[in-house]
Symmetry: C2
Subunit: 213 residues, 2 copies
Amino acid sequence: MRWKKISDAVVRRLPLYLRVLEEVSRDEGRKLMSSQELGERAGVSPALVRKDLAWFGEFGKQGVGYEVSYLKDELRRILNLDRQIRVALIGVGSLGQALTRYNRNRVRQDDSFNIEIVALFDNDPEKFGMEVDGITIHPFSEFEEKTRALDVRMAIVTVPADQAQMVADAAVAAGIRAILNFAPVKLVVPEGVRVANADLSLELQRLAYYLDD
Amino acid sequence: MRWKKISDAVVRRLPLYLRVLEEVSRDEGRKLMSSQELGERAGVSPALVRKDLAWFGEFGKQGVGYEVSYLKDELRRILNLDRQIRVALIGVGSLGQALTRYNRNRVRQDDSFNIEIVALFDNDPEKFGMEVDGITIHPFSEFEEKTRALDVRMAIVTVPADQAQMVADAAVAAGIRAILNFAPVKLVVPEGVRVANADLSLELQRLAYYLDD
């Protein structure tokens, strides 16, 4: 936990910066980029870009900007993306299957994206042994055994709402440290475990606010 | 635009409060709730709950708390959820299909959830006329005609990255005011149009930060 005090809001913006840097590096072969341009392309003010990055070191040079390749590598290191991150998905219904295909397509199409779903779990015996994009579905009872063998520490939860907390508890007991939760419930997890909510219903409700006439 | 100056961060928490109020109202028949308890169940500090809600009026009584049913109705009104909100989904691949089923199941199971996908669009002629959960897939060229007839002002974009901006431009020109974007690109839209990013790759990258040993 090298950067323990960095706020969530800062961490949330780092992947946006990384995406811009990877785009300009790949598509335009750019070497340098100003905080002005990085901010514009990431949808963040240049001052905030500078402030966010200053948490992690001195990356830019006044009047010159950021070295694209260096900053990109540093951001990847800060976000732990300089290694492969293996993910388990729990609940292989239609959403779980779609997310699996989506994630694995992304990994195949983009060399720099290395967060990969490598294990699937469900509690429906009819699904055991079936495959999605080459990954076998295992009984959730084997979660700990399989994920420890594969060094999985991140999980995506796509089970129904009434099973999500039970599944999260078991996943955390098995060593999972980060959960992307699609179930429409607030998961309670011990300190040191991170949950990100991908509850689409909440996002839609939030957007509805702006439909006001 | 009654509450124009309310920050995004506040708006983002309102659906969390609403979810708690709907749960306690439905499952426990509760009439009153303190900001303390509302905060705990929504994962927000009680002080912030009070501050957030104070933007919209005087909802609580000192020492008594909030009237659950009244606050719930007010939040639904503030979020424009007191009417049906019709949504179009563009890009009916496996993710788009899964989201359609997920959304419509949610609408069927939960009377109070009334943001509903009612129209599907794709540009693959092989998909035209096919149905997902009873909804016909139409050519994207008919987007404006169909969505205006159905009074759709919100869209979910699940097309590949390189088509997302084109699709968003056309949707906005057709009267769409809010977009939930699953494509891994930053959409540029005119003022008055809202985009929420549901780019799963960004969420996973953000979570990876916390996997640090």
